[in-house]
Symmetry: C2
Subunit: 342 residues, 2 copies
């Protein structure tokens, strides 16, 4: 090691991942896809297994002062299931590792696991292993999920083609707005512990933050309708950032339309109350765990009437850039602000 | 959640794992084996995949004041490979998640990854994914390893039969003794930073602690000799504790012989210097990552001349208990002290 010191902040989280990935060489033929998508893909007989993992730390990814333990357990599973969904695969197994400080009682661990087991039940995954250890600082949760698919069913980030239609499920921005509300009420509480948090009227957005759903319902529906998205990713870092990932991996551009972006009324109203631009929340809010995908035009008629799939734009040539047409008809360049922990 | 508060220390790490495992229901036929062995087993065409995961935290599992980052990276991979080996499977892929505090520079991350990549190269595994995030406190490393085997090649903890021979590879106790030396020299250094740590003459034991090897060499040799152990486990928590796991899972007892237990001369001498009983180090020292396994008597002749496999005892009926015959011929009950982080 030389004496040079480069701060991680200088290259950022994605920069660090790119930097580390450069040195990785794939040797086994059975490794069909390594780093660079929502999950890795390995051969398994006539099917493939998809594998994804997430590391969640107290104080970075969650705050136990407002995240109820059962919700946290559910969310930790859901975010991994969401990555399996984003490959168009079906989650089957998870491993769950936790590190606990001694302020955790057995009852608290049970509360956390009640959420983990509820999510395992809900998404039909088996908890097959894990590790349980002590922590000198906060709670750490590491989950690995394994899914199953036929090879031809997989959707990668890299398959979007010019003229494909860009689709997104559900609505966006709610989880970010919910987080702002939870943080605001936490500050109020810290300033005056006798104040009761004001969460009435914010259930939807706080629910989006505290107990998100992975959109497995959509994956099952796509299978029934025999639609395989040409590309797919889950919205964990914000719509704009995910569009950039698809464009980069597929070598394409994109144009989306502001008036097509799905936002819930409570998200919109709360954003305004918080002096946040609702469209910025939709474009750059993280943790919605909706699915962003592209379909071939021939599949449009199959999805056209789906109440929870929104058609927000189309795929263009790379040289056309990544654009948004605003409600007033102005064309602006998208910026991928993303979600920074460093 | 009721108001009752049970400390984790009251039930211990194994107690907590048992408590949490009770509530887990396996639903998929493709989950062949869940919690309770060195790794889980899932169906994958005509082969099976074995899956294991480990969570390592700074201040609990390692101390960066004496663990060089490349060694730490190597060890983090090796301990997972060792769990795959303990199933008699071949590791193929790993995911690597790390959480980094801002005192880590990009160069430090590179040093850690140089060890991870060296181990991946050494054990022939592909790094297929992971997660990289910030940590508010220390370094966290979470690795999941996936291995491959034919179903009939697997060795579980549960297959030991009465009259099987108990085998252990390499030598034991070194990693514990090495840790004591590293801790001693750290205290000397903390008391007087101008003192240079005295590690001459302790290279073997400190190496056992800092950069252990997973015994994949043995797994490959067993395959060549067409020996499938009737049961197997890796020695991560100490020989006695691992023997208890095999006895419990197999419903058997065991008798081992003190004079057959393998100990390296440096381990022995250093233990004596540290006023530790060498046999206690062998029985209860953790982190040696050797393989403990049982074989059918018919396979003994195939392994008899192997220089690095030691025949330390035999399997008995459960009601005969777990015994050690000392050098003086006395029969004592084994105690599984294990390795406690809580």
């Amino acid at each position: 090691m030389s004496d040079k010191r480069t701060e991680i902040g200088e290259i950022g989280e994605f920069g660090l991942i790119d930097h580390l990935s450069e040195k990785i060489i794939i040797k086994h033929n059975s490794t069909l896809r390594g780093i660079g998508d929502d999950a890795a893909v390995i051969e398994a007989g006539d099917h493939v297994k998809v594998v994804t993992t997430d590391l969640l730390l107290e104080g970075v990814h969650f705050d136990l002062s407002y995240a109820p333990l059962p919700h946290l357990g559910f969310k930790a599973v859901a975010v991994n299931v969401s990555d399996i969904a984003a490959m168009n695969a079906i989650p089957k197994q998870i491993t769950v590792s936790i590190a606990l400080s001694n302020r955790f009682s057995v009852e608290a661990v049970d509360a956390l696991y009640s959420g983990i087991n509820a999510a395992a039940e809900h998404y039909g995954v088996d908890v097959i292993g894990g590790d349980t250890t002590a922590s000198r600082s906060g709670l750490v949760i590491s989950i690995t999920a394994i899914g199953d698919a036929k090879k031809e069913q997989l959707s990668f980030r890299s398959g979007a083609k010019v003229n494909d239609i860009v689709c997104v499920t559900g609505d966006l921005g709610g989880a970010l707005v919910g987080l702002q509300i939870l943080e605001r009420e936490k500050q109020v509480y810290l300033a005056n512990p006798e104040m009761t948090p004001e969460l009435d009227g914010f259930q939807y957005v706080t629910g989006r933050q505290l107990r998100p759903e992975a959109r497995m319902d959509i994956i099952h529906e796509l299978r029934e309708m025999e639609v395989v998205p040409t590309s797919m990713i889950d919205v964990s870092d914000g719509l704009a950032s995910e569009l950039f990932h698809i464009c980069k991996a597929s070598g394409v551009g994109v144009t989306i339309y502001e008036d097509k972006l799905p936002i819930d009324k409570q998200t919109f109203d709360t954003a305004v109350e918080l002096n946040l631009d609702p469209i910025t929340c939709v474009l750059n809010g993280g943790e919605d765990y909706e699915l962003l995908f592209t379909i071939d035009q021939k599949d449009f008629s199959k999805l056209e009437k789906h109440p929870d799939i929104h058609f927000i734009g189309h795929v263009t040539k790379a040289e056309d850039g990544k654009l948004m047409v605003t409600k007033s008809g102005t064309v602006v360049s998208l910026k991928a602000q993303g979600w920074k922990h460093f």
